[in-house]
Point group: C2
């Protein structure tokens, strides 16, 4: 359940790796992962309102004081969870990038990874937004906030290099320097908006009426067509690419998902 937290434990920069990490430091890092794992279970089961320092203390073998030794506030826990989620996303993005296909198919694979991450863990997806809001941000520790910015930069870098590759292969045109950044943002906005609405507003009229249709591929095809990213959706079977991504890249991750969710 929380293996993603464990395997990333030693990477947390709050306790930076040294050539030889002291036993004590390692113990502290381990405990932090243990605490984050419990916090993760709390939000997973009942949403964010269910995460309280009180409950976190009671479910852990430690005292409140010790919790506050790791996290300067409740918000700090939230940002820490969000960072773990982003690290997990990064792993998926790297897999997506290696998909065999043209540049637009690779972009599709990246979006698939984003959607997959949100389906695997809906609450953490929302976490990423709330964690960025100024009210949360200002109560979190600086170390954790900086870490978040680093992770974000790393993701941005991946996207940028994909766009650059597409331009190089002449499948995408990019008139000015700045329009590349605008294109990156447009992709993020479209994907984020679609997922956030689907996750949170499933009951809403204009979403429930979509019935069994999968709006993601439609959204993406429309946006990428608007960017004139070749080949256009009229000339290529991106539905097939979407299926290929599911089977060739993310078969393992898909298998973990509840059967009710077909991407």
């Amino acid at each position: 359940m929380l293996k993603f937290l464990c395997e990333l434990a030693s990477k947390d920069p709050v306790y930076p790796l040294q050539n030889r990490i002291s036993r004590k430091q390692q113990a502290i890092a381990d405990r932090e992962q243990e605490l984050l794992g419990i916090a993760f279970e709390l939000v997973k089961q009942e949403g964010f309102a269910n995460l309280t320092m009180e409950r976190l203390t009671k479910l852990s073998p430690y005292s409140k004081g010790t919790l506050y030794n790791h996290f300067c506030s409740k918000e700090d826990v939230i940002v820490a969870l969000c960072n773990a989620a982003m690290r997990e996303e990064l792993v998926l993005y790297r897999k997506a990038r290696d998909f065999q296909g043209n540049s637009r198919e690779k972009a599709l694979a990246m979006h698939f990874a984003y959607l997959l991450a949100s389906e695997r863990n809906p609450v953490l997806f929302n976490c990423v937004l709330t964690a960025k809001s100024p009210f949360v941000q200002e109560k979190a520790s600086q170390a954790r906030t900086l870490m978040q910015q680093d992770l974000e930069k790393e993701i941005t870098l991946l996207i940028d290099s994909l766009l650059a590759q597409a331009v190089e292969q002449q499948e995408l045109r990019c008139d000015t320097e700045s329009s590349m950044e605008l294109m990156a943002f447009a992709n993020w906005a479209m994907a984020f908006g679609g997922i956030a609405l689907l996750l949170n507003a499933r009951a809403s009229h204009s979403i429930s009426r979509l019935g069994g249709m999968n709006p993601f591929l439609f959204n993406l095809n429309t946006l990428l067509d608007g960017m004139q990213w070749q080949p256009l959706s009229a000339d290529f079977d991106y539905q097939a690419s979407w299926q290929r991504v599911a089977h060739e890249v993310f078969a393992a991750e898909m298998a973990e998902l509840p059967a009710s969710l077909q991407l």
Copy 2:
């Protein structure tokens, strides 16, 4: 500040209008508006974490028990605020629809209205998302939840009729029945995603690097081009339309905005 709450007071269906509303019912409806106004100020100043039943009680002339007479829970207050925000949005959408121009320009005006609503009141914009999350929804009163669905339907209707009009005028093609609903959703997702990210993640790398550029028009032009909504952005000056909307439709609302925000 909270005039939008007042003018809509009598419309709240929790206390439905009758041919002759009793004096007592009117008093109750008034008090509810008063309470919502205070709640609004609380979230406006310091975000949602600042809204507590405790503070709401203290800032009002009433007791806790009376508050719970109006709102069955804290979440119920949030949904009530969200509904007020949606009513305000509706007013803007109606103004946008009457913009003189081709169908795609009208769509632009609708998006402008959405953006304007979010700039006028960032916290309530977020409110609309959190208010739809299942955890909040299940703690709110049914009356308020139903009201929310009605408001949503009304907004959807406006969008749908604009799309239908565009198809009728042959500026937009719509192959199947369902693709209209997909197009409506794509517009919502793009607009929502862009605004939510801009509001909450201004500090994030891939947003801060956009600098002074306004990504909204880019996002919209790209999406609507992808939908093949005529005339395409290459053949029409939508930048000019955007300015026209600001001046011709929303001059009054723009004037209220802090000068730092140029749409």
